[in-house]
């Protein structure tokens, strides 16, 4: 091939191919559990299937649908409304609220549910306090809304998950060319009309991405729904496997759930169809925010502080307080110490693997001009959309089978008993984490690389470096900050992950998250608060990072992010291109 010959001499096509092959392997690893899921489900489930079909699935589907609908409406209203409030208006403390609104991201849904169950318990602080105010002594004398309902679940999840919409929409509002809003004003539109006719429709893609991320989290959630008595698909999968040991049944429910995920993804695509929202306005000058004073400023402050209070301060404050009391009363238990070590070990292992593979996939996509590289990158990111339970169910069968083969082989060849090598060592859990969070690491590397001019690659190649050499000596040092950010996010996500951890952890292996789940499920509140506090504290780190980043610059809406709903779930790693946040004034 003549053209191939010519290219090989300059860019080394053979090298490209190696990158692509490696990248294909990674994509296969991510997709394997989904394929195996379909195979398991196809095997049928014998006697139990009619039961599942008749009693489990309809309710699970209905509950999940109601939950998603409720959470969807709530997060969009809260997220977009708050984003407009902090970008279009100026009021005392706005800069603080601007980032404080991200705080609920640090509290996983199951911790919030755990905290509120305790807070709102008839003898918990809230009801006791209210009764004390009213002078009542009998807990039954006061009717109080029960948090263990669908409504309670929707509200709690929404107040934790709205930051996804807030973050993406706020970035969109910040980067919307001021001239668009100003043009609307000069054409006679009031501020309200500008919001509904111009700002909001333009932010629709951002809202769609944020909402789909929030809904995927809601779908993935297992702790909160279960504690609050909502039987979602996630909960049903878990109980079908754990309580009934029915893997094909769990796989079938998981397939139904996967269908829902696909529907979500399609919905998000549909919302972003047709129009090109990336505005042609290049010199984005921000519209000047309106200064609020008096009662209007007070109202704005009340509006923005409520979600922070409900989604972060109350639950996090409560668990921190309980943890403090616990440690003072019973000391720091060695069990928690061991669990912290377990958590760090398994999350670190997964982070290292995820970063390495993410780097490989993103580099292959950049190095090869072939569309295959990009397609593989997208495929490797699909795991993010798969809820933890779905992924775990899909992984179980092949890994157990593999374990058995290894064990048998070792036994017959060397006469030693290895036991379950993969699942017993936690390798299965690492696999699940990597498959699920590869989107974050690959997305982080990709966005880091996207900012480097291709001529840097070419210059390195012309100066005698191989593709790998250019990566190592030029790109890698340049994208180190992006890598660090991605690694941190992967680590924190692994640490918080609950559903897959519950299903795939080795026997008698507890992490902070599973400990908390165990106590909450038993209804005991001992060291659980300590575990919760640890998770929230670590979860705060990326939120702080995100806050610093988003305060300085708005996140630029990246057209390349299309199809990557998985990508950069926290939108954190896509660093902004423009800086529309700079002060006004220069012409």
């Amino acid at each position: 091939m003549d053209s191939g010959q010519a290219r090989r001499s300059v860019f080394g096509e053979g090298g490209d191919r190696r990158w692509l092959i490696a990248s294909s392997c990674v994509a296969l690893l991510v997709l394997a559990p989904l394929v195996s899921l379909i195979l398991i489900a196809g095997r049928g489930s014998g006697d139990l299937w009619p039961h599942i079909l008749a009693y489990v699935l309809p309710q699970a589907l209905r509950d999940t649908a109601v939950l998603l609908l409720g959470v969807g409406v709530m997060v969009v209203t809260l997220g977009a409304g708050l984003a407009w409030l902090v970008t279009a208006y100026e009021f005392p403390g706005r800069r603080l609220f601007d980032w404080a609104l991200l705080l609920p991201l640090a509290t996983p849904t199951y911790i919030v549910a755990y905290a509120y169950l305790d807070l709102m318990h008839p003898i918990g602080p809230v009801q006791t306090g209210v009764r004390a105010l009213l002078g009542l002594t009998d807990p039954r004398a006061l009717w109080f809304p029960d948090v263990r309902t669908m409504t309670g679940c929707i509200l709690l999840l929404s107040f934790v998950l709205y930051p996804y919409v807030y973050l993406s929409t706020r970035a969109m509002f910040l980067m919307q060319a001021g001239s668009l809003l100003e043009a609307a004003r000069t054409l006679g539109a009031s501020r309200t009309r500008v919001f509904f006719r111009v700002a909001l429709p333009l932010a629709r893609p951002a809202i769609a991405v944020g909402a789909s991320l929030a809904l995927m989290e809601a779908l993935n959630d297992i702790g909160a729904s279960e504690f609050l008595g909502v039987k979602t698909l996630s909960v049903s999968i878990y109980s079908t496997w754990i309580n009934r040991s029915n893997l094909p049944g769990a796989a079938q429910i998981a397939l139904a759930m996967l269908a829902l995920v696909v529907a979500l993804v399609l919905l998000e695509r549909w919302a972003r169809r047709r129009q090109r929202y990336v505005s042609q306005a290049q010199r984005a000058r921000r519209a000047a925010p309106l200064q609020l004073t008096g009662w209007r400023a007070g109202l704005a402050i009340a509006l923005v502080s409520t979600p922070i209070l409900i989604g972060f301060i109350l639950p996090a404050g409560h668990v921190a307080n309980e943890a403090f009391k616990r440690v003072r009363f019973a000391g720091f238990s060695p069990q928690i110490g061991q669990e912290i070590l377990n958590t760090i070990a398994i999350a670190s292992a997964a982070t290292v693997v995820a970063m390495a593979l993410g780097f490989l996939v993103a580099s292959a996509a950049r190095l090869s001009r072939a569309p295959l590289g990009g397609a593989l990158l997208r495929a490797s990111s699909l795991g993010y959309a798969a809820p933890g339970t779905v992924l775990a169910i899909g992984l179980m069968t092949p890994l157990f089978a593999l374990d058995n083969i290894i064990a048998d082989t070792a036994e017959s060849l060397f006469g030693i008993s290895l036991g379950l090598l993969i699942s017993g060592s936690g390798a299965a859990l690492v696999y699940a984490y990597v498959a699920r969070f590869l989107a974050i690491s690959a997305g982080g590397v990709e966005s880091g690389l996207a900012k480097l001019s291709p001529s840097l690659d070419h210059a390195a190649r012309m100066l005698g470096q191989s593709a790998g050499g250019a990566m190592r000596r030029v790109q890698l040092p340049l994208i180190r900050p992006a890598l660090g950010g991605a690694a941190l996010l992967v680590f924190v996500d692994c640490m918080k992950e609950l559903p897959a951890t519950l299903l795939l952890r080795p026997l008698n292996f507890e992490t902070l998250a599973t400990h908390l789940y165990g106590e909450a499920a038993r209804g005991t509140y001992e060291d659980g608060a300590v575990a919760a506090t640890c998770i929230v504290l670590v979860g705060l780190v990326p939120v702080m990072m995100l806050a610093r980043l988003s305060r300085r610059r708005a996140f630029a809406w990246d057209k390349n992010a299309e199809g990557a709903e998985a990508m950069a779930r926290d939108l954190l790693l896509v660093e902004p291109a423009g800086a529309p946040d700079k002060p006004q004034g220069k012409l």
Partner: protein, 363 residues
Amino acid sequence: MSPEPQVSVRRGAASLDLQNLRQTFGATLAVDDVSLRVEPGEIVCLLGHSGCGKTSLLRIVAGLERPDSGRVLIDGREVVGPDRFTPPEQRGVGMMFQDYALFPHLTIFENVTFGLSKLPAHKARIVAEAQLARVGLLRYSKDYPHMLSGGEQQRVALARAMAPHPGVLLMDEPFSNLDQRMRERIREETASLLREKGATAVVVTHDPEEAMQLADRIALMRAGKIVQMGTAEELYEAPQSLFAARFFCDLNEIDVVALNGRIQTPLGDFDAPAEVEDGPVTLCLRPHGIKLEPFDPSAPPPLTGVLTNRRYLGEDDLRHVQVAGLVAPLRVRGAARWRPEIGESAGLRIDPRQVLVFSRKSV
């Protein structure tokens, strides 16, 4: 000069009065005590380099910025004053943005009707369609902005701004995003549309040619101040400062000294204008004000030079001529009947009306 006599001032075209406007951004003084009156139906260009405050001034009129002090009156009605700030949507002012600011999520038709929300739908349709037809884009009604070319987008922006019949139309660098060739044509179309509608318009531009082509009057701005105001002819022929002269013409400048009303230069002696005092002055010669003629050794002309460079520019030639006693060669432009070779000597004839003198104390 008053507006062109053939302009029929349509009802609704408003007058605009700016009085002592000042605006600071931090430490920078963007608009420094600017006063300006625009008559109904008049087109005024704010001309200046980037950062001179012309866009700030426009945004103050639109209501997108609030000045520190000063007043703005539209048709005698105060919209900005010590105790008043009318929001932009209540001013009856249209604005065309440099980037057009077309709403990307709305069709062309919806963009143009956006400002017509007070009209019933069928009336809004009639008005919008008439506007679109006038700019020749009716058939793109259902398209989205990104499907149109730059020139078409520019015309949609114009149609949208004019649809609500604003009393004053403000345009911020309306042609700067078009390529050179298209700019000429669209500029002409826009100018004739504005004159046809008799609209009062304030146009911001950094291009002197554009200002001369569009404006009834030009306000030349520098560092937040209007340094000279007048018709294109007045500004070109009688610039009151070296800055104004330079803005409109690529001058040959020679630093010399005026003594007793006379200026001696290697190019000969000139009379200093009455308003220029003795002392250091800058003598400016327009490249078009110098003619080259064949050098005749038998009757040498009083002023000669040697051709050092030449460029063929189509309708014009640009030639560099070194004259003894001058540091830099003179730039000479004009249609050339006689084309000397490089190194050849040539006679120079200077048109004294094309010579400008400015005192260097008051640049």
